[in-house]
C-alpha cells in the first residue's frame, strides 16, 4: 500500500450499488459507466495522505475515519429557516438541500432568454450532450481521489448555461444546505457553468449546514470569448463539517472571471481552484478572506495556468487566524513559454491573533516566458501594537480596538469585490464573525 494514500475502510464504498439507485440519472447508462469508472479510480487513489506534496499541510485522516452515509431525507426546520432569507425576495434562487434540489425554497423563473438554470438532475435530460461532454472532460482530468469520488457519487449541483450574448443582471443565488444532524452524511455536488460568447452573469453560492457532514463539490466553469462571470462564495459550513471544494475554470480570449471567497465555517475546509487561461486578453481575478478560530483548518490552493499570452491574473487573500486555527495558502502561477506579456499578481496576507494560530503559505511561480510581469507575496503578522495603543489612548477598549484593526485588515480583500451589494453582504458576514471574538 502506498504511503501517498490514506488507508481506510470507507464503508460507503460497499453500499455504492444501493446508493446510486437514489442518485441523479440512475437509468442513464453512460452516466452509470462514468460513476463506476469514478469508483474504480477512487479505489485506486483513495484520499491523498500528507506525503502528497499538495496535501502536505492538510490532513484528511479525520475525514477518512468518519463513517459517512448517503444523505437520506430533507434538511431540518431550523436549517430551512436559515436558508429561507438568503438573497432578496425576488432573487432567482436554486436551493440544494442534502444533495437534492429543494423546489419549495427555489425560484427558477424570471431569467432572461438564453439563460438556463437548473439542477444537475434536470440538465441530464434537458442538456444531455453538454453534460456528457462535461462529465467526460472532468473524468479525464488528472485529479485526486476527491474528484474520483465526486464522479462516482455526483449529486445535484447547479447547471447554468448562457447562450451567446445572454446577459443576466440580477444575482443568481445558489444555496447548498446540508444537515448531518442525524448522523454524518457525505455530499458530492456537481456544478457546471457554460458561458457563450459575450455572456455575463453574477452568481452567489452560499454553503450552510448543521451537524457532521462532508461536502465535496466539484465545479466546472467554461467561459467563452468575452464572457464575464462574477462568482462569489460564502462558505459558512457547520463547525463540525468538512468542506473540500474544487473549481476548474477555463477562459477563452477576452473572458473575465471575478471570484470572491468568504471562508468562515467548517472544521476542515479546502478550496482548490485551477484556472486555465487559453486566450489572449483574458483576466482571472480572485480574492478572498478566511476567518478562522478554535481548531478550524482552512486551506486555499490555487493554480493559475497562463497558457496564452497577453492575459492577466490577480489573487488577493487575507486570512485571520485566532485561537488554534490553522490556515494554508498554496498559490501557484504558471506561465507557459508562449504566454508572453502575462501580468500575474498574487498576494496572501495572514494575521495571527494568537500564539497558537498558524499559517503555512507557499506561493509559487513557474515561468517559462521571458516577457512577463509577475509578482507574488506572502506576509504573516500580528496586530500592530502601535495602532492598538493609539486606539486605546483614545478611550477605545481592547476588544473593540482589535475588531477595528482586524476589520481594516480584511477590508483590503473586500475592496477587491466589484459590486456594492455583494461587498456589503460580505462586510456583514465579516462583522458577524468579528462580533464572535472575545478580544
Amino acid at each position: 500500500m502506498s504511503i501517498r494514500r490514506i488507508a481506510a475502510d470507507f464503508p460507503f464504498l460497499a453500499t455504492f450499488d444501493a446508493a446510486r439507485a437514489g442518485l441523479p440519472g440512475a437509468p442513464i447508462d453512460w452516466l452509470q459507466a462514468a460513476r463506476r469508472d469514478g469508483l474504480v479510480r477512487f479505489r485506486d487513489q483513495s484520499l491523498p495522505s500528507r506525503r502528497v506534496e499538495s496535501w502536505k499541510y492538510t490532513d484528511l485522516r479525520d475525514l477518512a475515519t468518519t463513517d459517512f452515509a448517503a444523505p437520506d431525507g430533507p434538511i431540518g426546520a431550523a436549517l430551512r429557516e436559515r436558508v429561507a432569507p438568503i438573497g432578496t425576495r425576488n432573487s432567482v434562487r436554486l436551493v440544494i438541500a442534502n444533495g437534492r434540489i429543494e423546489p419549495d425554497l427555489s425560484r427558477l423563473t424570471g431569467l432572461p432568454a438564453g439563460v438556463h438554470l437548473m439542477p444537475m438532475s434536470v440538465a441530464l435530460d434537458s442538456h444531455t450532450d453538454l453534460l456528457k461532454a462535461h462529465i467526460a472532460r472532468v473524468s479525464a482530468l488528472d485529479g485526486d481521489g476527491l474528484l474520483a469520488l465526486n464522479a462516482a457519487f455526483m449529486m445535484d449541483g447547479y447547471v447554468l448555461v448562457l447562450d451567446d450574448g445572454a446577459q443576466v443582471a440580477p444575482t443568481i443565488e445558489i444555496v447548498f444546505a446540508a444537515d448531518g444532524g442525524s448522523g454524518p452524511i457525505a455530499l458530492h455536488p456537481r456544478n457546471l457553468i457554460v458561458m457563450g460568447q459575450g455572456s455575463a452573469a453574477t452568481v452567489v453560492e452560499t454553503h450552510v449546514g448543521d451537524g457532521v457532514y462532508w461536502s465535496n463539490p466539484v465545479s466546472e466553469i467554461v467561459m467563452g470569448q468575452g464572457a464575464s462571470l462574477r462568482r462569489y462564495k460564502v462558505q459558512q459550513e457547520s463547525a463540525a463539517a468538512f468542506h473540500l471544494a474544487q473549481d476548474r475554470v477555463a477562459l477563452a480570449s477576452g473572458a473575465h472571471y471575478r471570484g470572491f471567497l468568504g471562508a468562515f465555517g467548517a472544521r476542515l475546509a479546502r478550496q482548490s481552484v485551477t484556472a486555465t487561461i487559453n486566450g489572449a486578453d483574458a483576466a482571472f481575478d480572485v480574492a478572498g478572506t478566511y476567518l478562522l478560530r478554535d481548531n478550524q483548518h482552512g486551506d486555499i490552493t490555487t493554480l493559475v495556468d497562463h497558457a496564452a499570452g497577453g492575459s492577466s491574473s490577480r489573487q488577493v487573500y487575507k486570512g485571520v487566524l485566532d485561537d488554534a486555527a490553522r490556515g494554508v495558502f498554496q498559490g501557484k502561477v504558471a506561465v507557459r513559454r508562449d504566454a508572453q506579456k502575462t501580468d500575474a499578481h498574487q498576494l496572501n496576507n495572514a494575521l495571527l491573533l494568537s500564539d497558537k494560530a498558524e499559517i503555512d503559505a507557499k506561493p509559487e511561480l513557474e515561468i517559462y516566458a521571458d516577457d512577463v510581469k509577475c509578482s507574488h507575496g506572502a506576509t504573516t503578522g500580528d496586530l500592530d501594537a502601535d495602532a492598538l495603543f493609539y486606539l486605546q489612548a483614545r478611550g477605545i477598549d481592547t476588544a473593540t480596538a482589535r475588531r477595528l484593526l482586524v476589520s481594516a485588515f480584511v477590508k483590503a480583500a473586500l475592496d477587491e469585490i466589484d459590486g456594492e451589494a455583494e461587498r456589503a453582504r460580505f462586510e456583514v458576514l465579516v462583522d458577524t464573525w468579528l462580533a464572535g471574538t472575545d478580544g
Binding site: 500592530d384 501594537a385 502601535d386 495602532a387 495603543f389 493609539y390 486606539l391 486605546q392 489612548a393 483614545r394 478611550g395 477605545i396 477598549d397 481592547t398 473593540t400 480596538a401 477595528l404 484593526l405 476589520s407 481594516a408 485588515f409 477590508k411 483590503a412
Partner: protein, 252 residues
C-alpha cells in the same frame, strides 16, 4: 486649587532600561506646564507612562490623577477619565476610517461619563464645527486615520481629536514640531481655546515659539530622566539663548 496630577519620585523603565529616574511634578487644574529638554531625556517616555503604554513600566514612585492611583488603570480607562496624549508621532491606521475611529472614541468616553451617545448625524455636526477651527476638510476627517497626512496635518488631526474629546489633562508631545507658521498659530489657538480652570496641560516642546502663543504657567527642564530645573516662562527664553549647556553636567 485642585490637584490634577501629582507625580512623586517616578522611576520608569522601557524594555528593562531605566529612563525616568525620579520625577517629581505637581500640576493643578487650570495650569499649563511646559516641559523642555534634550533629545532622549525621557519626555516622550513620561508621556507614554502617563497614557499607560504597554512596556513602559513604573519601577518606583507614584502617580496620582484626580486623587486616585493612575498607574493601575488600563490606557482606555485613563483616556475615558480625561487623559489625552497628543502623540509626537501619530500612528497611521490604514483601513480604519477617521470618522469611525473618532466616533467610537467619542462615544466610549461619553458612555463612561454616563452621557448619551451621539448618533451619526449629531456626531457629524459636531466634528464639522471643530474641524473648521483647525482648517481640516471633510475629506481629511473621513480618510483612514492619519494615512497620507503630512507631518503638520497629523498634528492638526491630534488637535481635532483633543477638541472633540475635551480632556481634563492634555499631554501634548511636540505638537508644534513640523508645523509651518500658520499651522502653529492654528494649533496654538486650538490649545488656547481649551484652556480652562478645570483643565490642565502638559506641553512638551523644543521651541520657545509655541510658548509665545500658549503662555505656560511653569516651565520644566527634563534631562537624564529627571526634572533638573523649573521656573516660569523666562526659563524657556534663557534656554533659547543659551542652550541646555547652561544646565551643566546634569543635562549631559
Amino acid at each position: 486649587m485642585t490637584v490634577m496630577l501629582e507625580i512623586k519620585d517616578l522611576h520608569a523603565a522601557v524594555n528593562g532600561k531605566e529612563v525616568l529616574k525620579g520625577i517629581n511634578l505637581t500640576i493643578n487644574a487650570g495650569e499649563v506646564h511646559a516641559v523642555m529638554g534634550p533629545n532622549g531625556s525621557g519626555k516622550s517616555t513620561l508621556s507614554y507612562v502617563l497614557a499607560g503604554r504597554d512596556g513602559y513600566d513604573v519601577t518606583q514612585g507614584s502617580v496620582m490623577y484626580k486623587g486616585a492611583d493612575l498607574i493601575a488603570l488600563a490606557p482606555e480607562i485613563r483616556a475615558r477619565e480625561g487623559i489625552f496624549l497628543a502623540f509626537q508621532y501619530p500612528v497611521e491606521i490604514p483601513g480604519v476610517a477617521g470618522t469611525t475611529f473618532l466616533k467610537t472614541a467619542y462615544n466610549a468616553i461619553r458612555k463612561h461619563r454616563g452621557e448619551k451617545e451621539l448618533d451619526a448625524m449629531q456626531f457629524l455636526k459636531l466634528i464639522r464645527e471643530k474641524q473648521k477651527q483647525l482648517d481640516m476638510t471633510d475629506e481629511m476627517v473621513r480618510r483612514a486615520v492619519n494615512v497620507g497626512f503630512s507631518g503638520g496635518e497629523k498634528k492638526r488631526y491630534e488637535m481635532l481629536q483633543m477638541a472633540m474629546l475635551e480632556p481634563a489633562l492634555a499631554i501634548l508631545d511636540e505638537t508644534d514640531s513640523g508645523l509651518d507658521i500658520d499651522a502653529l498659530k492654528t494649533v496654538a489657538d486650538g490649545i488656547n481655546a481649551l484652556r480652562d480652570p478645570g483643565r490642565a496641560m502638559l506641553m512638551i516642546t523644543h521651541y520657545q515659539r509655541l510658548l509665545d502663543y500658549v503662555v505656560p504657567d511653569f516651565v520644566h527642564v527634563l534631562a537624564g530622566g529627571k526634572i533638573v530645573r523649573s521656573g516660569d516662562k523666562s526659563l524657556a527664553l534663557d534656554l533659547e539663548k543659551e542652550g541646555y549647556a547652561v544646565l551643566g553636567t546634569a543635562a549631559a
